[in-house]
Every structure is written in structure tokens, then in C-alpha cells.
């Protein structure tokens, strides 16, 4: 009955001779548009605005919240919907496999010179290069350290072995995820790589994880869930799957906590800016990455998001050399399957069974 909604007011308006002003004046879009796909907090409004002003262009920013959503967006139209996006090094592999992204010419991005040396040594970062070509520019990262309740520790825990410490039984929170859990097990077992377990390693890892299951209060999936349990059950130790974001949230909630990178190292994800194979404006995509490595954008990452940037060392951690950048795992499906059994409470024999 749209006609009624239009006719009646119009009739009365007509009689009153008071036409409502209609909104005209939609400005023509700028000639150049950059289509960016990013994560919340990666490119705040002022960062986008300053880029648009500097280059007299328009930025079409789309946000995603999960790896799956990112994959759908990029893979959905062969990358044709975007020019540049942010993805972690482990996830990046399947984008390279599908030829959705193109090699990057770092020389065209002057601000890469401002990055910390360890982020400039691209060959040292697993997953960033392939066939001698660089596919991403590191932007931000977070490591999965340990959060502990200061009141329950005389000495801060320095090893992930604390997760198995019987004295802390029922006061530990771990993360409900197969991939990272097996990586943790591989680290405590001293394996060469947490991401590539040998066949013989599986029973040991399962045994370790069952032991972990028996030692923890519970497993969490969401950071707010972890924060609630941490405070409700006076938890002593927390495996911080979401890293410094969780530290920030818990401190904001008033918890007296500390945060450590264990001596075995910490799993860490590293998000990089990558350029799609089908970008319509390569120069502008490079300019975007250059802009995001500037003081403004990279500074906001630390100040506002509690994440780390690649141009300055985070204050006070001093553990930069112990970060284990996430890599594709030897068999994510198997890890998930076995982890589901472990979570369900099965014995080792049944976990490893058919």
C-alpha cells in the first residue's frame, strides 16, 4: 500500500504548499577507488580518511571477523572484488596455492624500510615467501602467551609446563582448539616444529593433552567466556589464545594479572597485507600498504587494539625472538578429530583408535 503512504501526505503537503526538501547532491565518486578487506581495528576511520585525503582517492573498506569469512570473500570471486587484504601467514598458503594473490615488490613500498629487522628478513618468516617471491608485508601480530594471577604465583611461570603443574589443578583455563593444542603438546615434548608432528609423536601428544584435560578447570572458546571463568573460579593460569587482547580485557576488568612468553616460545599469528592477483590499481594498493606502515596506523594498532606492530618492539616483553609464527599444520583434520575425542573425555586408546 505504498501509494497510500505517498498519496496522503503528498495531498496534505500539496494543500499546505510545503514540499519537503528532497536530498539531492550525491557527489560523484572519486575516479580512483581502492577496495580493502581488513579485520576490525586494522584501519580505523581516521587512517582511511588520511589516506583518502593524501591520495585524493576513495577507499571502499570491508571488514571480516573470521578466517572463513575472509576466504569466502576473496575466493568467492577469484579475488576480483578487492585490491588488497590482510591475512595471516598460515592462511596465506591456500591463497598462494589458488593464485589469488600476487608477489609484492617491497621496493615500491618505502615504509618497509622502517620495519624491525626481523620483519624485513622475509625469508626467515615461514609462509611469507614462495619460489623466491614475497607474497605479503607483515603488519601486525599477536602471540599466545600465558596470563597468570599475580596473587597465586610467587614467581611468574616461565614455561608452558605450568599448564601441567598438578599444584595448579582445577585452576587452569586452556583453549578448546585442536590445532593449537597439539602444537602446545609438541612444544612441551620438545619437538622440532610444533606444526609438523611425526607419526610417532601422536600417542605422546595425545597422552599429554589428556593430562592437560585432567589438570585444567576447563576449556574456553571465546575471550569473554575466558574472562568470566577466570574471575569466577579464581583461575591461576590461562593460555591466552587471543594474546594481549585478553590481557587488555582482563586488566580492564580489574584483574591483577601478569603476562609471560614461556621459554619454549609462543605460538603467534602474523597478519600481512597482500595484494590480489586481479587488483585494478597496483600502485594504489602499494600506497595503502605504505600508509598502514606509517606512524598513525601502526601506532593505533598498539594504542587502541592492544596488538603489536612491525615498526617498533613491544615494550617490556623482550621475547620477540621466541615467537613461533603459525604455519600450515601437517594434518589439521586429524588434529581436530583427535582433539574432539580428547575433549569428549575419551581415554588415550579410544582417542587414537579408528
Amino acid at each position: 500500500m505504498a501509494i497510500m503512504r505517498i498519496l496522503l501526505p503528498t495531498l496534505s503537503m500539496l494543500s499546505l504548499l510545503a514540499w519537503p526538501a528532497t536530498g539531492f547532491g550525491l557527489a560523484d565518486g572519486p575516479v580512483r577507488t581502492l577496495r580493502v578487506l581488513a579485520w576490525p581495528g586494522y584501519a580505523d576511520a581516521e587512517v582511511v580518511k588520511s589516506f583518502e585525503q593524501r591520495h585524493a582517492v576513495h577507499v571502499d573498506l570491508t571488514l571480516v571477523a573470521t578466517d572463513e569469512a575472509l576466504w569466502e570473500r576473496i575466493n568467492g570471486n577469484q579475488g576480483g572484488d578487492f585490491d588488497v587484504f590482510a591475512v595471516n601467514t598460515a592462511e596465506l598458503q591456500r591463497y598462494i596455492d589458488r593464485r589469488l594473490v600476487q608477489p609484492i615488490d617491497a621496493a615500491a613500498i618505502p615504509n618497509t624500510q622502517r620495519q624491525l629487522p626481523r620483519f624485513r628478513k622475509v625469508e626467515a618468516i615461514a609462509g611469507l615467501t614462495r619460489g623466491g617471491k614475497v607474497y605479503g608485508v607483515p603488519y601486525t601480530y599477536a602471540e599466545m602467551g600465558l596470563i597468570y594471577d599475580r596473587s597465586q604465583f610467587a614467581q611468574p611461570p616461565d614455561s608452558i609446563a605450568a599448564l601441567w603443574d598438578p599444584r595448579l589443578r582445577g585452576r587452569i583455563l586452556a583453549y578448546d582448539g585442536g590445532g593449537h593444542s597439539f602444537s602446545l603438546a609438541a612444544m612441551i615434548l620438545g619437538k622440532a616444529s610444533p606444526f609438523r608432528m611425526a607419526e610417532a609423536d601422536w600417542p605422546q601428544a595425545v597422552a599429554r593433552l589428556i593430562a592437560l584435560r585432567r589438570n585444567v578447570l576447563g576449556f574456553y572458546a571465546q575471550p569473554d567466556e575466558a574472562a568470566r571463568l577466570f574471575r569466577k573460579h579464581r583461575v591461576a593460569l590461562l593460555f591466552a589464545n587471543y594474546g594481549t587482547q585478553q590481557v587488555k580485557a582482563l586488566k580492564a576488568a580489574g584483574a591483577d594479572i601478569g603476562y609471560v612468553i614461556p621459554k619454549e616460545g609462543a605460538l603467534a599469528w602474523l597478519d600481512c597485507w597482500v595484494v590480489t592477483q586481479g587488483t585494478k590499481d597496483l600502485a594504489l594498493a602499494y600506497a595503502w600498504i605504505d600508509h598502514l606502515l606509517g606512524e598513525q596506523a601502526s601506532g593505533l594498532l598498539v594504542a587502541r587494539q592492544g596488538l603489536a606492530n612491525t615498526i617498533a618492539e613491544p615494550s617490556g616483553s623482550g621475547a620477540a625472538d621466541r615467537l613461533l609464527w603459525l604455519e600450515p599444520m601437517e594434518n589439521p583434520g586429524r588434529r581436530d578429530k583427535l582433539w574432539a575425542r580428547i575433549m569428549s573425555g575419551d581415554s588415550a586408546a579410544r582417542v587414537l583408535g579408528p
Binding site: 500500500m1 497510500m4 495531498l11 571477523a65 569428549s344
Partner: protein, 580 residues
């Protein structure tokens, strides 16, 4: 200009009519929509309350079930048995109880007895399976101590029931309940010394609860259930439920922004039409769990498409639109008629005034009307009558004055001024037609004696008689005038010959020769006549009359009762033999 006034008048009246009809139509439509929406909100809220009561009842029923099982003496015995056979016997009894309950309660997936020892190992577990009920045993029993329904329940006091967050149950080996939406209800079991030794866990089938809730819903109604954080558990679009299980958050606060007030504790229920697409009316109720625990509350809501709610108002809107249109047309017609009714008599009077001004002709006015226009018409008519009467009097007086100014008061004959005027015209005419004009100058003989002897009154009688005789003697077209005293003058036009003029002069002399009787006295006057002819005797009025005057003198000198022509020699006169 007249038309314009009528048009303006009609336009204003019509605009007022249309505006009135339009505005009242619009407000009626608007009000009806508001009423329908409010009624729909109220209805949805009531329905949601009813459903909420069902949910709460279902929860209470489940709670009573677990409490019943926990309070059974064999339950404690199964957990505290000293020997293996004792324990097995107690466990069998409880398992039988579980089976009995599961048989009557198809909405339960699983019943378990879990010990607080051995990392929360399951002691008795009866699962529902496609084939029926299944008692799980041996190494299929699992350690559950790290699940909230275990560690939270063991921390609760006796008699309380833990209600878990509704989740998709990913616990392997859960048979029918595996990967299905479930909620765990659990209650602790305490030893005599008050130490928690185990718990009863009931795994409820949420799908069956959802089916119960949605079964009686009419079409077009959307049902929503969320957990205490707003994550959808039940959504008309199934893909939006349990999104957190897939690493996403799909929140009621995002789809129905008004529900944010439910979660910050401001209110227990909201009704809203402000959905992002504004296409539905919705009501939501938040139900806190008592005592507050893991899942602090849940929110139940119903929505109905606005279009369905407002379908009645659309029919009403059409009807209103028709009425508004009809009234608009009616007001337009009425306005035109009214404008005409007012302006027509005005126009009539205007044309009457114009006609009266132009030709002093009276036009009928609407004097029979009883309204202001009738009063105006009557006043105007009266004014016309007065003017007409005054004009008549004025004209009569004017005519009288004119007559006085141009005629001799005694005889009624034209006076000198009129005569001279007529002569002027006659001469001009004669000049154009090349005809001739004669002037006969007449002086009465012996009049002075009559006047002196018998008085002026008799003299006047005499003059009247002379005038009368002169008038009857000449042609109607000829002009007889009195110049004063006993002098008369006659203008004869279209003179064919001197003889004809002479004939006239003779006739006059004869006519005047007859005596006039006054008181048995015969009074007689004669006439001496001088005749001048235009153009031969003079070129102008003055000249011709002067010549006639001279000729008259000659006639008088020659002995009276005769006429004399100006053109003749001074001695020639014409005596008329009178037969008296």
C-alpha cells in the same frame, strides 16, 4: 475580472475542502496504522509470554526430573558402594530408572550419573539412539570433569539445578544428541558429610523444545530464542541460529536494536517495530534464571511482518483515499456552485448599474432575495427609481425653460431668436439646394388705436386672433413668429415663384381683413406686408429681413392693407381688393 473573482473564490473554497478531507483522511489512516501496530505488539507480547511460560515449565519439569533422580537413595549408593557387586547392583537400578524415564520423555537425549572423582568419569549413561535406548558402558564412558556442567554443578549447593548454555553438543559418542542443539540440566549429589560426590546430568533435546514452541504458531510469525548474550539459538532463518558454534556472532541486538535494553537490565520486555528493514513488528521477553548461573538468562521473541499486520489498514487506506477523493470532487463542485451563487447576483447588479449609467434603462434586480444581496438589490432599485423620477422632473423643467426661451409668451409663436435660427438654417439649406426662401414682414394696421382705446387686454386678444389666423393661413412647414408689438414675420421655404409668395401675402391680408368680434364690437385690423426673397434680395439673414422690413414700410406708406416686394421699384405696391 468578474470571472477571476469567482475562480479565486472557488479555488480557496475547494482548497479548504480538499485540505480538510486530505488531512483528516491522512490522520485517520495514520492513526489506524498506529493502532494496528500497537495491537500487534500487544498480541505478540502476550503470545511470547505464553510461550515463555511453556519454556519455563519445560525447564522446571527437567529440573524436577534431575532432582528426583539425584534424591533417589540408590544414586548415593551407586557412588558410595564399598564393593564392586554392591556398586554394580546400585548402578543397574539407576540405569533402569534412567531407561524408564527416557522412555516416557522423548525430549531427553541422555541421562548420566557422573562421579566427582576420576576427573568426572561417567558412571551410568543411557543414550538415546536411532535404535532406541542404549546403556553405554566400559571404555565408552568418558571423563567430563572439564565441562562446565560438571565443575559448576559440583560447586553448587544441594537441591540446586545447573542450566547450561544451550550449545551444539560436540561430545563424541553422544549418539542421538551428538551435534544437536542441547541444554544440560544437572544437580549435585552430596555425601552425608556434605561433600559433593557426583551429579546427575540430563541432556535435553532443544530441537524438540523448539518444535513444541513453533508447532502452534500461525504462518508468518517468526520465533526467536537467544542465550543470555543475545546469540540466536532459534531463528526463522535456521542458518542464523547457533552461529557462535561456527565462530560467528549473530546477535539479536544487531537485528533488533531495541533489544539491547534487555541485556543491560533496563527492562524485562521490549516491543519494537524498529528492525533494520522496518518490515516487522516484534516482541521480546528476557527470562532470568534463578539462581543466576552459567547461562544467566535467555530471551524469547516473536515477530510478524509489518505488511501482514497492516494489511487491514491498507484496505482502510484505499477506502479513505476514495472518500478523500469523493469529498475533494464534492468540495470542488460545491465551491464552484457557491462561488457562482454569490458572484452571479453581483454580476447581475454590476451589469444593471452599467446599463443604467449608459442608457438609463432599468434591468430587473434580484430584489426578492431575503439575504444581504436582496437588501443591496432593493437599495439599488430604490436609488434607480429616485434617480429616474428626479431625472423626469428635471427634463420637464428643462423643456418648459426651453419653450419659454424660444416662444412668445402671449401667442405661443416662436420668438425672434428661434425665428432667426430657423432662417439661418433655411438659407443654408436653400443655398445647397439652390432653392429660394421668402421672408414676409407683417405689421398690423390700426392696432395702436385698438390698444389705446380698448385697453391692452383687448389688444392682446387681437394679437392672439391674428396669430391664430396667420398659423392657419400658411403651410405647416412655414414658420410664423412674433417679433414684438404688432410685428409678425413669416418664413416660407421652397418658394417656386413670386406669385406663390404673393398668393400667401394676399391670403394673409384677406384673413386679417375679417373683423374680430369683441363684446358686440367689430374690431378690424389690416396688415402691411413686406416681402424679400433669398437669394436675390439679400445674401444673409439680416440683409433679407432688413429688405423685407423696408418693403413693409413702403407698403405702409403706400396706404396699408397691401404688400410690397423688395425687388420692385419703390413706388410699386400691391393693393388687395377686399371684399368686406
Amino acid at each position: 475580472m468578474k470571472l477571476k473573482l469567482a475562480q479565486r473564490f472557488a479555488l480557496v473554497l475547494a482548497a479548504v475542502g480538499i485540505l480538510g478531507a486530505g488531512l483528516s483522511g491522512y490522520y485517520a489512516y495514520h492513526a489506524s496504522r498506529e493502532l494496528l501496530l500497537r495491537a500487534a505488539e500487544e498480541r505478540l507480547l502476550t503470545s511470547t509470554r505464553v510461550l515463555m511460560r511453556q519454556v519455563v515449565t519445560a525447564l522446571q519439569k527437567g529440573s524436577q526430573d534431575v532432582l528426583l533422580l539425584a534424591s533417589h537413595p540408590r544414586t548415593v549408593a551407586a557412588l558410595t558402594a564399598a564393593t564392586g557387586p554392591e556398586r554394580a547392583a546400585a548402578e543397574n537400578d539407576i540405569a533402569a530408572l534412567f531407561v524408564a524415564m527416557l522412555k516416557t520423555r522423548p525430549d531427553i537425549y541422555q541421562l548420566r550419573l557422573i562421579t566427582a572423582a576420576e576427573h568426572g568419569m561417567e558412571r551410568i549413561r543411557v543414550d538415546r539412539d536411532e535404535a532406541g535406548l542404549l546403556r553405554v558402558g566400559g571404555d565408552e564412558l568418558q571423563e567430563k570433569g572439564h565441562y562446565p556442567y560438571v565443575y559448576e554443578t559440583l560447586r553448587m549447593p544441594r537441591g540446586s539445578v545447573f542450566v547450561s548454555n544451550p550449545v551444539i553438543n560436540h561430545e563424541r559418542g553422544a549418539h542421538a544428541g551428538e551435534d544437536k542443539p542441547s541444554v544440560h540440566l544437572a544437580t549435585p549429589i552430596h555425601a552425608a558429610n556434605g561433600v559433593p560426590i557426583g551429579l546427575i546430568v540430563l541432556n535435553a533435546d532443544l530441537d524438540s523444545v523448539f518444535r513444541m514452541l513453533t508447532s502452534d504458531l500461525p504462518g508468518g510469525i517468526g520465533l526467536y530464542l537467544t542465550n543470555g548474550l543475545g546469540d540466536f539459538l532459534l531463528h526463522p532463518d535456521a542458518s542464523q541460529a547457533f552461529a557462535f558454534d561456527r565462530g560467528k556472532r549473530i546477535l539479536v541486538q544487531d537485528q533488533f536494536p531495541a533489544t539491547a535494553r534487555l541485556f543491560d537490565g533496563q527492562t524485562e520486555h521490549v516491543v519494537t517495530t524498529a528492525t533494520p528493514d522496518a518490515a516487522s513488528v516484534a516482541a521480546f521477553i528476557r527470562q532470568p534464571l534463578n539462581p543466576p548461573q552459567d547461562n544467566e538468562s535467555f530471551v524469547l521473541g516473536m515477530s510478524q511482518p509489518t505488511a501482514a499486520v497492516l494489511s487491514d489498514s491498507d484496505a482502510l487506506g484505499t477506502a479513505i483515499l476514495r472518500i478523500v477523493f469523493a469529498f475533494s470532487v464534492l468540495s470542488l463542485v460545491l465551491a464552484t456552485l457557491l462561488a457562482r451563487a454569490v458572484t452571479e447576483p453581483l454580476n447581475q447588479m454590476v451589469s444593471a448599474v452599467q446599463r443604467f449609467t449608459a442608457v438609463q434603462e432599468r434591468v430587473p434586480l434580484p430584489i426578492d432575495r431575503q439575504d444581504e444581496i436582496g437588501v443591496l438589490a432593493r437599495s439599488f432599485d430604490e436609488m434607480q427609481q429616485k434617480i429616474e423620477m428626479q431625472m423626469g422632473t428635471l427634463q420637464a423643467k428643462q423643456r418648459e425653460l426651453d419653450h419659454l426661451a424660444s416662444h412668445d409668451p402671449l401667442t405661443g409663436l416662436p420668438n425672434r431668436r428661434v425665428f432667426l435660427d430657423r432662417v439661418e438654417h433655411a438659407l443654408a439649406r436653400a443655398q445647397r439646394t439652390e432653392s429660394r426662401v421668402a421672408i414676409l414682414f407683417i405689421d398690423l394696421d390700426h392696432f395702436k388705436e385698438i390698444n389705446d382705446n380698448l385697453g391692452h387686454a383687448v389688444g392682446d386678444l387681437m394679437l392672439l386672433a391674428v396669430a391664430d389666423r396667420l398659423r392657419t393661413t400658411v403651410r405647416a412647414a412655414d414658420t410664423v413668429a412674433r417679433l414684438g408689438g404688432d410685428e409678425f414675420i413669416i418664413l416660407v421655404e421652397d418658394v417656386e415663384s413670386l406669385d406663390a409668395v404673393a398668393m400667401v401675402a394676399r391670403k394673409i391680408i384677406e384673413a386679417l381683413a375679417h373683423p374680430v368680434w369683441y363684446q358686440d364690437q367689430s374690431l378690424a385690423v389690416g396688415a402691411s406686408i413686406g416681402i424679400a426673397i433669398f437669394p436675390q434680395d439679400g445674401a444673409s439673414t439680416t440683409e433679407v429681413i432688413a429688405r423685407a422690413d423696408q418693403a413693409m414700410y413702403r407698403a405702409k406708406l403706400a396706404g396699408r392693407n397691401r404688400y410690397c416686394l423688395a425687388s420692385e421699384a419703390s413706388g410699386d405696391t400691391h393693393t388687395i381688393p377686399l371684399d368686406l
